[in-house]
């Protein structure tokens, strides 16, 4: 990594990391006055390095003292790897996740998944989450629920006012998740990885206010059919969000299901800075057509890394040949890093975002789509 | 690498304890949804008796006496299924006392050249030490034990090297058997012992294989 330094107190920062779409993403936010926040976590699959942790160490942040909140936006493999490692070091940090109407039931599901096979790679998200809960328990530290219109953090120090507000999940979504937990409870099996049907619906959209500037991080929230869930709930019912944002981390990797023109018209400034991270499993996101549409909405669309082309893993020739003979579809999820750092001066009366594209990050508008 | 000469790999999981051989049989496994229906129907049952049971499900042979339960397979593709089956059986049979566990690996190699075969034995046990008072000495069997496990668990590792009796492409056939044996502390009580044993199968399985694979390569590197 290069060009890395610790921002001074009045420079707010949002650093977005991603890993080529297969291994997760994370954001690190400087809230001002050396207060830091981490949103989700991801790891280098080869070295095990926790990317947000590595960044904070690189720029010399006192993680133990100055990391004040870690948010797990939703319980998905690609948003949670390494999060317990960060929490174990960040002794002053609160752990925040989406409100569970029945916490006891939710904890039971976590435990049911965890006891199956502690070393099973298919349940790494449960293992991480379980560890985080136990760190909080042993420390006696606070767990904070995120839900619609909830202020998670509020600082006012040396004329720097920072607020962090969760805009989701909605009350209805939380209640429906509770019902879903009941069905998981009944259908729990040892040979099935627990997958909640709608993890994205519960993901936490965060609204940041840095003095006069605001930023919106869209997590993986989608546009639901139900007006009291997803983006509709935020657009129609959220009251805490009081100004349009000049920065938007585009929801759910720029998928069509998470896009609505009202988000751009009602929640964002004209021509905002927008940042995307790719997704790469069976489908690749963002789709090219979607990128073109986004480019019409802003001239400042950035992507942490273009979606890589997956290829078969390199193996011994005999093995490669046999795999190719028997199943040509086997592809390795390629790991590549991308990072974009966005900074803004909270004390500037006419602040503008300063953008640093690092590693494989690209300015989408400049691409030949 | 010696793995280039490997032809057959066998695995057996051996558990010592107090068993009721009559219980573990194909239709019980089917009732517990641990095997397919066709596997239960097609099972080759040699005997089911309160002293001994033995049956073959095509991918695993299960043999149980009152003191010993063995799951044995030559299907490398099914090793994890065999492990899962053993774990599931003894998680269901909560009351069955277990005393010790062995994960036994067998490797049948066929070396392409006579000289390699001779050197293998000669480098393991230098035959010049046996010259003079024996006529044309040859190594037949070798057994080495690691009495204190490297991983800190109770038990031992036993390695046996002998000629292989299997039909292999050449006559230069070697069998290396590695018994990865775990003894469970009696003081833990029956529930504790069973938990530990099942935990070893769940969490130490990969380590056992990795250790054994390293041993095989180390032996080869020393003697080739």
């Amino acid at each position: 990594m290069h060009l890395l330094d610790c921002p001074i107190n009045h420079i707010a920062e949002i650093a977005v990391f991603s890993t080529g779409g297969g291994y997760g993403e994370s954001c690190v936010v400087h809230l001002g006055n050396q207060k830091w926040m981490v949103i989700d976590s991801c790891k280098d699959p080869k070295t095990g390095l926790v990317l947000p942790l590595d960044y904070l160490n690189e720029i010399g942040v006192n993680i133990e003292k100055d990391l004040v909140m870690i948010v797990c936006t939703h319980w998905h493999d690609d948003h949670i790897r390494g999060i317990s490692e960060i929490l174990s070091i960040a002794k002053s940090s609160e752990f925040c996740f989406a409100r569970a109407t029945d916490l006891r039931k939710f904890l039971t599901i976590v435990k049911m998944d965890y006891v199956k096979a502690p070393n099973d790679p298919t349940i790494s998200s449960t293992i991480e989450f379980n560890k985080c809960l136990h760190i909080c328990e042993s420390r006696g530290s606070q767990i904070k629920y995120a839900q619609s219109d909830r202020t998670l953090l509020n600082f006012n120090i040396d004329k720097l006012h920072t607020e962090v507000i969760s805009l989701s999940p909605s009350d209805l979504t939380s209640e429906e998740f509770d019902k879903e937990l009941s069905t998981l409870f009944i259908s729990c099996k040892n040979n099935i990885k627990i997958e909640t049907k709608t993890p994205n619906d519960r993901s936490i959209v965060l609204y940041f206010k840095f003095n006069n500037v605001s930023a919106l991080l869209g997590a993986d929230l989608g546009v639901s059919d139900n007006k009291k869930a997803g983006w509709y709930n935020i657009l129609n019912y959220c009251v805490t969000r009081d100004s349009k944002s000049s920065f938007y981390k585009v929801a759910h990797h720029g998928s069509r299901n998470s896009h609505h023109i009202r988000i751009w018209d009602e929640l964002l400034d004209k021509n905002p800075i927008a940042c995307l991270t790719p997704w790469n499993r069976k489908t690749k996101l963002p789709e090219n057509e979607m990128l073109k549409e986004l480019c019409k909405l802003s001239t400042d669309i950035y992507m942490t890394i273009p979606n890589p082309n997956d290829k078969p893993k390199k193996r011994e020739r005999q093995v490669e040949k046999l795999i190719n003979d028997l199943n040509k579809s086997v592809k390795e999820a390629k790991y590549e890093r991308g990072m974009i750092r966005f900074r803004i001066d909270m004390t500037d009366p006419n602040p503008t975002w300063e953008i640093a594209l690092l590693e494989n990050a690209v300015h989408v508008n400049a691409l030949n789509l | 690498m010696i793995k280039d000469y490997l032809h057959i790999r066998n695995l057996s999981i051996v558990i010592l304890g107090d068993f009721n051989p009559v219980i573990i049989q194909p239709f019980w496994l089917l009732e517990k949804k641990l095997i397919r229906e066709l596997e239960a129907i097609d099972a080759n049952v040699e005997v089911i008796h309160n002293e001994i049971s033995k049956f073959d499900l095509k991918w695993v042979t299960i043999e149980i006496t009152k003191e010993r339960c063995q799951f044995r397979t030559s299907m490398e593709s099914h090793f994890e299924l065999v492990r899962d089956l053993a774990i599931n059986i003894f998680e269901i049979l909560k009351e069955t006392p277990l005393k010790s566990l062995g994960i036994n690996h067998e490797f049948h190699f066929a070396l392409p050249h006579d000289e390699q075969y001779y050197n293998f034995g000669n480098n393991l046990v230098p035959l010049k030490n046996w010259d003079g008072f024996l006529n044309d000495p040859k190594l037949l069997n070798l057994e080495i034990v690691e009495a204190e496990r490297k991983d800190g668990l109770n038990g031992l590792l036993r390695i046996k090297i002998q000629p292989s009796d299997q039909d292999l492409p050449t006559n230069n056939k070697i069998l290396i058997s590695i018994n990865d044996h775990f003894t469970i502390d009696k003081n833990k009580g029956e529930t504790g012992r069973k938990s530990e044993m099942i935990n070893i199968l769940k969490c130490r399985w990969g380590d056992s294989f990795e250790r054994v694979d390293n041993i095989i390569e180390e032996i080869w590197n020393k003697v080739k």
Binding site: G22, P45, T47, L103, R104, L107, T108, V110, K111, M112, V115, D120, T122, C136, E137, G140, I143, K144, K189, N190, N191, E195, D310, V319, L322, I323, N327, S329, V330, E332, A333 | I8, V22, I23, F27, K32, L34, I35, E37, L38, I48, H49, N50, E51, I52, K54, E63, T65, S74, E76, S77, H78, L81, D84, E91, H108, D165, Q166, D167, E210
Partner: protein
């Protein structure tokens, strides 16, 4: 040779019937047919006049074994016997997978190498036609399976093999639920939530 051993088998049949309570199930009846044929076989070979007796007595049999004292001489090895292995399989690569997506004719999965040294994973698509009909019943999102690529050898004939085996695990017992609930309750009582 005494007939005590046949008594043992008949006694076993009675014990088995009571143990396996589902008397009307086809599984039970199927099994009894097999067992009856075995008992018949043993009765024949155990008869005093049977010339087959010698064929089945294992001269290497452990003399301390209780079965011998009960007159139950049969040739089944308790120790590893010198058997020729005519059917075996080898593995060139193994994975553990979990199902991500299911289509009409295929499913996609994330697969992790079983002997992996890092967290790099792969994805693959599998045709449903490659899966056994009984395993297809286990196919659902999140289902875990093993995939092996290698060779199978039977009676000297070697062929390439790709085999998908869905994980079969015991059902959750009341104790399992109770353990998870107890652990969850314990954690719940200690967590501070706002």
């Amino acid at each position: 040779m005494s007939m005590e051993s046949t008594t043992i088998n008949e006694k076993y049949l009675a014990e088995f019937s009571s143990y396996f309570e589902k008397e009307s199930s086809s599984i039970h009846n199927e099994y009894l047919k097999i067992l009856n044929s075995r008992v018949k076989f043993y009765k024949e070979i155990l008869s005093e006049n049977s010339s087959d007796l010698e064929k089945v007595v294992d001269k290497d049999f452990n003399p301390d074994n209780e079965l011998v004292s009960k007159g139950f001489h049969l040739k089944f090895p308790l120790q590893r016997s010198i058997l020729k292995i005519t059917k075996y399989s080898t593995s060139l690569q193994k994975w553990i997978g979990h199902v991500l997506d299911i289509d009409e004719f295929s499913f996609t999965a994330r697969i992790d190498e079983l002997n992996r040294t890092n967290d790099i994973y792969e994805t693959a698509e599998f045709n449903k036609s490659e899966i056994s009909s009984e395993d297809l019943k286990l196919l659902e999102i999140g289902a875990i399976f093993y995939w092996n690529v290698g060779y199978s050898v039977e009676n000297g004939q070697k062929k390439k093999e790709s085999i998908v085996m869905f994980k079969r695990d015991r059902e959750w017992s009341e104790d399992d639920f109770n353990l998870a609930i107890d652990q969850a309750n314990d954690l719940y009582s200690k967590l501070k939530v706002s």
